[in-house]
Symmetry: C2
Subunit: 551 residues, 2 copies
């Protein structure tokens, strides 16, 4: 039967929540694990090690049971499919989140659990955690969709002006028309002006701006342009560890070489040039490293880079001939008093023409983070600096194949970069809504630091920026052994048990990368203050219990 | 200087519209071609053959002139970049459209032209051509963006109900939250019900539905899953010729093998099984063909496949072990009285379990075409049938890396598949707006057929469906020679001259593929009736003149 092909040495046995499907016969029913739903007497290690495949196995088996007979060989199988896709992982929406969704459904169906609610602290999704959208952002974008409301006096005049400006730039004055592939021209102009204001007047050229389907789209597109070569000349892409797993996933999918450089946990997750240099030299032995990715403010680490550090990185990139990718989607999310956001573009230009006219840089922004949290719109932009014009044309050609990024997302980006100004009817409301979000995040960042700081066995750097905490946790040797026996990483074991016992969904550090022998998890600071407080307390209590249990 | 690297044997010389930039010195100024802007005495063939690169050359050169000194070698160059990206082409937004946009700007600046307006008939972009969005679609999507209006009595009750239903399914009840990667669950349920209604009750499972960022996204994602192997075992993907160039572009980018099968122009562009078989057998000598792509109704060819033809294709796919991809984005656009749309899914299931339980199929739909034309929203869905559950899980993992498709586009898809029903407050208006669009398109399809039918030297199949006409045109041997001398395809020469003299922008047939020695162009039938009439008349007159000029 084809599922044997998938499971290798294992006998897949029973399913707890859908037992009716399974024949008694040769299947073991005794020791079914509630999470992975395979028989632990046959296979103690499969469930967590390869949950996604075991989940598939179950489906596969279920399908065969339904039909009574094994299926003929498929054309598209795990073996025949794109193996780069197979190997990529994206922990932020990985098996643990799938399980969280199952638990939510079980709760809805009245299944008893040791908790009444699943709290998804796995993903930076502000609105899902109850943050309200900013009124002005939604007024303008709604007007762009339904211009009949342009005559409605419920909408402030400045929201109408902005909507008219965007609509006039749309073909046929409709947000339903394709835009230019690079994005709507007036919005690109507004993005350029926004960057100029942000960077103290350093010029930005709208021709260098591309509106994207979220920052992810821009990042993957630039990586796509950069990959080439085979064997030792394959493109190497330097990424921080811990990293946001979009990078590792894109690198795996595109069959480039992932070159890790470790952030310095003992030093607030700072980027260390010596580490960069070592990593680069090591990588040059087996690939052609030509890209250096920076995430600032850091995801999942929450650090904010100092101006000096950015200068050092730029100097390093110039010396070593590296293309710079600066992921700056958390530029509005800086909470620590002694930190400030400095864009790579600004620092590059302030370092003078030796750098500003040579270093190739792509930087990325998004509507999903900051104070807006408009993830669902999938809006973003990238700015490319010093890109060879011939290559830029290839970039434009590449993005034209997908026609354009979503116009509602472009409009959202357009409002964010061109917000109400003092004196405009919406200025006060916009500003107070914006500050309320940012102040609340700052408060929650501090609370997270404080509660983790008081918890033995948990070591947590301050959340200087972004939306995440990435604490290191003590995991006793016995737990490490148990995890090993199950083919799991120890932090995955911790997160699974946390989820099953408390309903709290966080992502194991192994999904982002961490130094060997250290264990972390990433959690967002987005739940409402009181809920976050309870979550932190439950989590630290659970950790205490976990450590005791395995001591 | 680095531009010499790009231009190979050529000396690039002068630029007409920006001459101030160029030093006199060694540059020729005499015979500058107005379109490609390189010196024809140095390089008669470059301008059209590789317009995009010559454009890049110009920019590159301009950049060097500005700085006074040649630039240092870039990291990302035409040579070092991803060569698969470099080789892909997407004619629908290719160099001729870039030139059309330039002409529009020149007209705005008051430059005199032999025409007063550029008409972009290059792309299926209904709203850009003046089609008005359907009121109900925009009411619901605007309400999803700005729920404050849910209390406004200007909105009909059914629009509010639908918006509430979608919002309740969004995390945090906000369209700004990420959705599940596969798409919002209630919308996937509505898509499944829509498919069931469309296909006479054949069941559709919401778990098989993925909401996508336009159909393009779904198509590329499935191709991405299917590619594997090296050399003779590389995945071959069968596509119709003429094809929609998304397919060739995706195949080039992903380094798969494009396997052409020719549609039968003499027989209304029908799909011929004998041709399929021959093409497949030929392809098996050098690759591993495992996917068969169908576009029905056809783009750019406008044919609508008969039920029998679809059955034959399914039988062929089953016999030959091919994964079927059915691009059905024009399913609402059928105009010919003797034609009807049959979905591959429906025909597959009506052929009985031998086929319906084995043939692997992915079919695609979009919010961009049909009567809605909401291209800017980038919404769509795909349904996968008989996909190995383990692979489906890999598919879900793959799409999760980009988090989700845009929620406004998902909402748009949600309204389209769940429109007002008889008795609902918006039913009459929705239906009359929908019919007005479809009847108008049918009228324009007929007019196009009629005017081309009366034009000597132009041979045009009836536009049975979709939004395009793809006429074959006579190009005299002398014009073919001139094109050859310029390194151009003859239909590109025709389209360039048409654009420069009349402002009409259509896409050369070579961008879609055509039998050797035949020449075509694709134009949309979307301009308003009177404008389309003028366009057709001007175009046929220009062709007559063109033929005379080269006789």
């Amino acid at each position: 039967m084809s599922f044997l092909r998938h499971c290798g040495v294992l006998k897949i046995t029973a399913v707890s929540s859908a037992s009716a499907l399974w024949p008694a016969g040769p299947w073991h029913r005794a020791t079914v694990h509630p999470f992975a739903r395979v028989c632990l007497s046959c296979s103690p290690s499969l469930p967590y090690r390869a949950f996604s495949e075991s989940q598939g196995l179950r489906d596969s088996l279920a399908a065969e049971m339904e039909n009574g007979t094994p299926k003929a060989e498929k054309i598209l199988t795990l073996e025949s499919m794109n193996q780069n896709v197979r190997k990529l992982e994206y922990a932020v929406r990985g098996p643990i989140v799938t399980r969280a969704m199952e638990l939510e459904k079980e709760l809805q169906q009245g299944v008893k659990k040791p908790f009444t609610e699943v709290i998804r602290a796995n993903i930076g999704d502000a609105h899902a955690m109850g943050q309200k959208p900013l009124t002005f952002l939604r007024q303008v974008t709604a007007l762009c969709l339904y211009p009949e409301m342009l005559n409605d006096n419920k909408f402030p005049e400045d929201s109408k002006q902005k909507a008219r400006r965007i609509l006039q730039a749309c073909s046929g004055q409709s947000s339903g028309a394709y835009s230019a592939s690079q994005g709507i021209e007036v919005i690109r102009q507004d993005v350029a002006k926004f960057i100029e204001r942000r960077d103290g007047g350093i010029p930005s050229n709208p021709d260098n701006i591309y509106l994207t389907t979220g920052a992810s789209d821009g990042i993957v597109t630039i990586i796509k342009l950069l990959i080439a070569g085979q064997g030792k000349s394959r493109t190497g892409i330097m990424i921080p560890i811990p990293q946001y797993p979009l990078y590792s996933a894109a690198i795996a999918e595109l069959d480039a070489v992932q070159v890790n450089y470790y952030l310095d946990e003992e030093n607030f997750w700072a980027l260390n040039i010596k580490e960069l240099r070592q990593s680069l030299h090591e990588a040059r032995k087996h690939c052609n490293p030509k890209v250096l990715c920076i995430i600032n403010p850091g995801n999942p680490t929450g650090q904010v880079q100092s101006r000096k550090c950015i200068e050092d990185v730029i100097r390093f990139a110039a010396e070593e001939n590296l293309f710079l990718m600066a992921d700056e989607v958390y530029q509005d999310n800086v909470y620590a008093k002694d930190c400030a956001f400095h864009s790579f573009k600004k620092v590059l230009f302030e370092m003078g023409p030796k750098y500003s006219s040579t270093v190739e840089l792509a930087s990325f922004h998004s509507v999903s983070k900051g104070f807006m949290g408009e993830c669902g719109f999938r809006g973003g932009y990238m700015e490319v600096i010093n890109m060879d014009p011939v290559v830029k044309q290839q970039l434009t050609k590449l993005v034209s194949v997908r026609l354009c990024s979503p116009v509602p997302g472009q409009a959202m980006m357009g409002v964010i970069v061109n917000p109400p100004q003092p004196g405009d009817p919406s200025y006060n409301q916009f500003n107070s809504e914006k500050l309320a979000v940012l102040n609340n995040l700052a408060e929650k960042a501090q609370m997270t630091e404080k509660i983790f700081g008081q918890s033995p066995g948990i070591y947590c750097n301050p959340v200087q920026g972004a939306m995440y905490s990435f604490p290191r946790i003590e995991i006793p040797p016995k737990a490490v052994q148990e995890a090993k026996a199950q083919g799991l990483t120890p932090d995955m074991l911790f997160c699974i048990k946390l989820l099953e016992e408390t309903g709290i969904c966080v992502v194991p550090g192994s999904g982002f990368g961490q130094r060997e022998g250290t264990y972390h998890f990433r959690m967002t600071i987005l739940p409402p203050t009181e809920k976050l407080k309870t979550l932190l307390q439950k989590l630290t209590q659970f950790h205490e219990k976990f450590v005791k249990e395995y001591s």
